[in-house]
Amino acid sequence: MKQFFSFVKKEFYHVFRDSWTMVILLLMPVVQMILFGFAISTEIRNINVAIVAPEHDELTKMITDKLDAVDYFTVNGYFTSMEKLDEAFRQGDIDCAIIFGQAFEENLYSADGSSICLSVDASNSNTATTMAMYAQSIISDCIKELSPYVGAAGIAPDIKMLYNPQMKSSFNFVPGLMGLIIILICAMMTSVSIVREKEKGTMELLLVSPVKPLTIVISKMVPYMVMSFVNYLTILLLATTLLGVPVAGSFLTLSLLSLIYIITALALGLLISSATQSQLVAMIGSGMVLMIPVLFFSGLLFPVEGMPKVFQYFSWIVPARWYVTAAKKLMIQGLSFRYVLQEFIVLSSMAVLFITISLKSFKNRLS
């Protein structure tokens, strides 16, 4: 145990005495927050839409068919009541819902007019805006076509942006950014720091000693684990105070989730380090293997739902995707633990898998 602590102490010295490491560790979250403040919006596809209609009449059927025909939308459920709709939103089965008022077609010609409500999951503000826009234009097209004398002004859908009523893009990029920063700091820094020992020749000395690989490996993880947890708190603090991003769900659950994700990222860093021999390769390797998939497949820049199926399947092996999804549910939607159970299980198994492989592949000798 004493041996382990002196290893950890040594690792902290390395981190604190390297001014560049410190700058990267402390400034990266702040810089990234500023950079990603300007999120990019893109067109989306495969929107799952639910129809809530108390009565099925010709007009509702027509709008439903028309939505289904457009390739942006897939009608994914018919509900008669609102309770089931909520559940479907939470499960992530649907992205938006069109709620028709009582006796929709009939009332269209009455003095009061009829009502239609468009509910959109706005956890991702970019997609929400786009979804609402698409749906709105289809609905008004239908109405114009069917009853030209009513006029476009006859009904205007009432749009409700769930979870993110002000449509702030920060709601989307903050969880994504946490996913990115954690993986960069944990994975890149650990892999580089292990490879540095190989490059400087100190690994040679450590190997010719009674130290167990587990001690070397775990002690390497500790400082970066602490650092990235500090960063997680920094981002969260900046996000809530400056950008007004809520932590609607439990802070404790979110922290636990982040901790598991941090461990997964550290284990990934170990894997990379066992495969590389120079700091440069480790750096580029981490960049390629970690940063790009995180940027593309975690929904940080582009919605995964808009990608071809192959890429959507690929995103399953990107740890950040699971983390970001769960973090959004916890922070923005304010869901409880049971809704992020799947992500917890996936991330935990990934961590176990990576650590096992990297310990197995830790070389006891020089290659």
């Binding site: 041996q3 010295y13 390395h14 390297d18 020749g201 100190t202 450590l206 010719v208 000693s209 006891n364």
Partner: protein
């Protein structure tokens, strides 16, 4: 009983042969020198004996443990100082030493007497980062770190490379003291002049041990006549080429500011006197380097 016993070790990297059929024994309290130029295979041999590399063929025992099977036991009982400075440059002298002490589950206090002689010399700089030390001090610190857990066998791979002559001399004095404590020291060096400080030396070139003997015997077994002439830097190669063409000269090479000439027999010296004034040429006793050159021819 031999502390280190090597039998027919060979090492190949793909098709490149690094070591071929190496065998030797080193006893308790012996300084065994492995002398040879860069690229001769010294570091490969050290890495095999310190269990860092697997040999392609052959076997070896260190402190009675097999280097392949019992590598864990060997790692507890040996001290290793790699050829390249391999301590943490961002840690201070004291932090490095105390870290390596804890790696071997011991403390500086517990084994201070082992390193005292050496550590005292660098103790005034104990709060300085290791990276900021001079070459000689770095090597002293590295030796301390390799010694702190009371190893039975010390493997020192080129400990004096890049160290000034004064520090080199000090370093060998320290090794002699360690030897007196009963520690077996396997040391390699490219400097032939250090060979005389060893009990026995092995001359290695191109991965082959050419000879294993005491330094005195190696010199004693030299069976040629060796002469030396002074030479200016300019035109040295020209003069060497000219000497080589003289009858009875078997070899001729630059040696510091001198030229060494190897003659087949005594009478050949007369042939040389046609080129040089007789007082310019003198007979000399060979050094280890001369023996190495002769063996290598």
């Amino acid at each position: 009983m031999a502390k280190v016993s090597v039998k027919n070790i060979g090492k190949r990297y793909n098709k490149t042969v690094a070591l071929k059929d190496i065998s030797f024994d080193a006893d308790e309290g012996e300084i065994f020198g492995i002398i040879g130029p860069d690229g001769a295979g010294k570091t490969s041999l050290f890495r095999i004996l310190t269990t860092l590399l697997l040999p392609t063929e052959g076997s070896a025992e260190v402190c009675g443990y097999d280097i392949i099977k019992d590598y864990v036991a060997i790692r507890k009982t040996i001290g290793y100082m790699p050829g390249r400075f391999s301590l943490y440059e961002d840690l201070t002298v004291e932090e490095n030493l105390s870290f390596f002490a804890s790696v071997f589950n011991t403390t500086i206090k517990e084994n201070y007497h082992l390193v005292e002689d050496i550590y005292k010399q660098i103790e005034p700089f104990k709060d300085r980062r290791a990276g900021k030390l001079s070459g000689g001090m770095k090597q002293k610190l590295a030796l301390c770190c390799a010694m702190i857990h009371k190893p039975e066998v010390l493997f020192l791979d080129e400990p004096t490379t890049g160290v000034d002559p004064v520090s080199r001399k000090e370093f060998w004095t320290m090794l002699a003291r360690l030897k007196n404590q009963g520690i077996t020291i396997i040391v390699s060096t490219p400097y032939m002049d250090e060979a005389s400080r060893c009990d026995r030396i092995a001359l290695i070139n191109n991965g082959v041990f050419m000879k294993i003997e005491t330094p005195q015997n190696i010199i004693g077994q030299y069976d040629k006549i060796l002469c030396s002439v002074s030479a200016d830097k300019t035109g040295k190669t020209k003069i060497i080429a000219r000497i080589k063409s003289v009858d009875g000269v078997s070899d001729c090479y630059a040696f510091g500011d001198k030229i060494h000439i190897v003659l087949n027999d005594k009478d050949c010296i007369l042939n040389l006197k046609k080129i040089f004034e007789s007082d310019e040429i003198c007979n000399i006793t060979p050094t280890i380097e001369d023996c190495f050159m002769e063996l290598n021819r």
